[in-house]
Symmetry: C2
């Protein structure tokens, strides 16, 4: 498939009149063909208006048809073949294995949402029986969730497939019956265009209105801001920097009609090495921690950027073991020169803190991220906010605490996080019970004896967390619960059967789980 550098607006490839740019090949340190052209204000407006015009038709499709559409999107991505992987490798410097795995994840994610639609209980159908004899009479009331409207999705730089054009935000918005206007990430514009063309083809094959999906390509902040400000857009999905997320939140809040923004922004993902686990498995934990930290050059939202242990010889040895393991990891190409330079500055800033001891700072080189490991005391961490921020890349800070109570105090002073991990033995469970209530208030996912960098796409996953991990701690951007972000409830009172949606009609024609007078049933 030829990559043309165009936006895809309502099924038509159109050349932007804004700034031109090219993709960058980080491993080679050079630009790539072809030129891309930033979408202009008129094109943004067209995409949004087409999305709005497509909304009623799209949301009126049956769940079965929308499920088939999601499967078709998956098929069309697979049909892109190796061209997609090769282009993504060049644009991101991520290895083949990782990208093939990520493609599998993207495809499975679309299929998981298709399954969710076929199962049907996502509608949260509710029926309250009329009680005409009651004083006052109770009406017949029925309730379901519907799509919120067209969604603006921002592709993320660090997952060019699974959190990008046809990633979790797009899949969950489509499942909800919401058209998507996608802002492609300029770090992988060719990959985005390829996947965008696959989605457009799936829209065509499914006989849906072309406005169900548009892909806008471009550089600069104006494009994204205009998209979020457009009156047709009813919600925003974003994965990226805190700075970027906060900017979009501000635009959304300043609209005449404010809209929800689901921004997944920053997290340092504390890892708690509890005393008996440290004594029993210190060296193994240190080694696995180093592997988790440097996986994908540390470019994961769930990268373990903070390690808490109890001060003493065992934790000192852990630090030495981790440093030794990290020392052997070569610096890798980062996703973009901007990410690499921000990472190197972040590492330098931490190294310059007087309260922080530098254990490892591997050489970086231009565009590269070398592992870095630092150590400080809990007292210093509690005193200095500068130590709390995310350094996106393979850098982590060890924090020596006096005891488990100080671990809890550090946790309570931390910002909201996506994850927290407990390394524990059975005999550490009492200590973990001290931490647990604090953790539940601070994070979206709590793990035991694993590492946070794997994020399963499933029913029970939460990839979310209190601000600033995300803009909205009531949500997840991974897993089937992500569909909830793009839904709102509507209640129908005493409506004739013909006016009711199928999901709420007498006799349960869709044979889905419904809540009748508060009780779940399939009757």
């Amino acid at each position: 498939m030829t990559i043309t550098g165009e936006s895809l607006i309502g099924g038509v490839a159109v050349r932007g009149t804004g700034d031109a740019f090219t993709a960058w090949e980080p491993a080679a340190g050079k630009p790539m063909e072809p030129s891309f052209h930033t979408a202009d204000a008129t094109q943004i407006d067209t995409a949004c208006q087409l999305a709005e015009a497509a909304f009623d038709t799209f949301r009126a499709t049956s769940d079965a048809d929308r499920a088939k559409f999601l499967d078709t999107v998956a098929d069309q991505i697979v049909a892109l073949g190796d061209e997609l992987i090769v282009r993504a490798m060049a644009e991101t410097a991520l290895p083949r294995g990782r990208l093939e795995g990520e493609r599998g994840r993207t495809v499975n994610q679309l299929k998981l949402f298709a399954e969710l639609l076929r199962e049907g209980s996502w509608r949260d159908a509710r029926l309250d029986t009329a009680l005409p004899e009651r004083t006052p009479p109770r009406p017949d009331l029925r309730y379901r969730l519907i799509g919120i409207g067209p969604v603006a999705v921002f592709g993320a730089s660090n997952f060019p497939l699974a959190f990008s054009v046809a990633g979790g935000d797009t899949a969950s918005a489509f499942a909800a019956g919401c058209p998507v206007v996608l802002k492609a990430h300029p770090a992988h514009p060719g990959t985005s265009e390829l996947v965008g063309r696959a989605v457009v083809r799936a829209v065509e094959l499914s006989g849906l209105p072309a406005g169900v999906f548009s892909l806008l390509t471009g550089i600069g902040n104006a494009l994204g801001q205009a998209l979020v400000a457009h009156p047709a857009i009813q919600a925003v999905g974003f994965t990226g920097s805190r700075f970027g997320g906060l900017a979009l939140m501000a635009v959304a809040a300043a609209r005449p009609q404010p809209i929800p923004v689901y921004a997944e922004m920053s997290s340092i993902n504390p890892l708690f090495v509890l005393p008996d686990a440290l004594a029993a498995r210190g060296p193994a934990i240190a080694r696995d921690f180093a592997a988790s930290l440097t996986l994908g050059v540390g470019q994961f939202c769930t990268n373990p950027g903070l390690v808490l242990g109890i001060a003493g010889p065992a934790f000192e040895q852990f630090a030495k073991d981790a440093a030794a393991a990290l020392g052997g990891v070569p610096a890798g190409s980062m996703l973009t020169p901007g990410i690499a330079s921000a990472y190197q500055q972040g590492v330098k800033a931490l190294a310059g803190q007087s309260s922080v001891q530098t254990l490892v700072t591997n050489d970086h080189g231009e565009g590269l991220g070398g592992a870095a490991l630092f150590m400080t005391s809990a007292d210093s961490f509690l005193a200095e906010k500068a130590l709390h921020g995310e350094v996106f890349g393979p850098s982590s800070l060890l924090v020596a605490c006096r005891d488990v109570e100080q671990m809890a105090a550090v946790t309570a002073h931390m910002e909201g996080q996506l994850t927290a991990t407990l390394q524990l033995e059975e005999s550490d469970v009492d200590a973990a019970l001290v931490l647990l209530p604090v953790l539940e208030k601070r994070v979206g996912r709590i793990l035991a004896n694993g590492f946070p960098t794997g994020v399963e796409v499933s029913t029970a996953m939460v990839h979310g967390g209190p601000f600033p991990a995300t803009s909205d701690g009531r949500s997840t951007s991974v897993g089937t619960a992500a569909i909830g972000r793009f839904l709102r409830p509507v209640s129908y009172q005493n409506l004739p059967q013909r006016l009711l949606p199928e999901a709420l009609r007498d006799g349960n024609p869709l044979a889905i789980w419904r809540r009748r007078d508060g009780q779940l049933s399939k009757d």
Copy 2:
């Protein structure tokens, strides 16, 4: 019970050091004893800190215990006896029957949330089975909803019991395990104190930490703004004016950690009189409309402030019938002098519009609201935004449309609404099908052949709607779904049984509905 004019902070009655004020008896046009004293910054801070300190204990209570607590709150409100009704009548000018009914509604609402807790599926418990043989292995993942944290609730002026101190916001927050810091509405401070003391007594009887509930009394905007700005507060429930709701949204968005605001703000609740219904039942609809409009001096969020019909003799006759019915309704005392004066100004402004024909403006008198009815064309309505605003009170605007398509166009140009009502015959259903998709995007509840002023407290109710009906169209403030506003998800990965909450443990010890690998079951 003696009303002392104090705030109730963590179970202790304390006298505010801020501005003093008294309740006002609207029907008598005079102030009432005793003096109330506005809570100061230190007292607000104490209430919020106590709420935060109480959160872990409160959310760790079993659902059964929290259900019992809600029942106890209900019992303590009933135990206030007639003193509550008498005080509320004096402070609001609402009649005895209405207030006794509202007390019943308040009590039933608390009991409905108690039932919800006993049923258990509100936790949305999810379990994904580990797949250790898969590559990569899938971990054991479990998911549940937990309380978001302390909630600031603002009592509403127009429902001194059901949307006030122990109303739907408080009941749903308590059910979710969230402590409540309540800002009492100064229009019924004595009623608020009585109910507040009942809640405090229920907290004591239930052996809960006193910080689970505080009541702050006061006048002026500073109190509410300080409350919403307090770092301990994690969500806001509000029912009131658009101006007030927007102000709180701005405070919440400007916090270092932004928090969700659930503000129910304004709605004109369009009523669509479809052609065959008009022909068949015009006079009856006109009479019932007049009754719904003037119920409680029109002081309902769901008051029908807009009536759409097809221009012609039948709709002219409807206007005459409605005007005749309204002409016989005496002006009633409004809740506060401020509400009465805003209403009178709103009516005057509408009457002054050149495109608007005045059909009825009953005399008001000081503090009173007389019914008002106006008529305009759909073309004028579409052209003039000034006609779209809410006039809180018994005023309504008839809009003559050319045809059903123009009705749909008017709807599409309307702001978000709580409700829309269709008066229709079987033969109008095709016309209704044209309106329905537009309505679904604009309103939270769609009714047929009724009037919107009754809001059932049940499982399938939505009392919400797109902005500006509410600040957050993803929610309802009435019915069991209201609990969702104060919940957020947490995922647990590979946690030992002892660290898991009961709702997620093996063997389903609470015997609740759970989602296992995507499928609902009680196993």
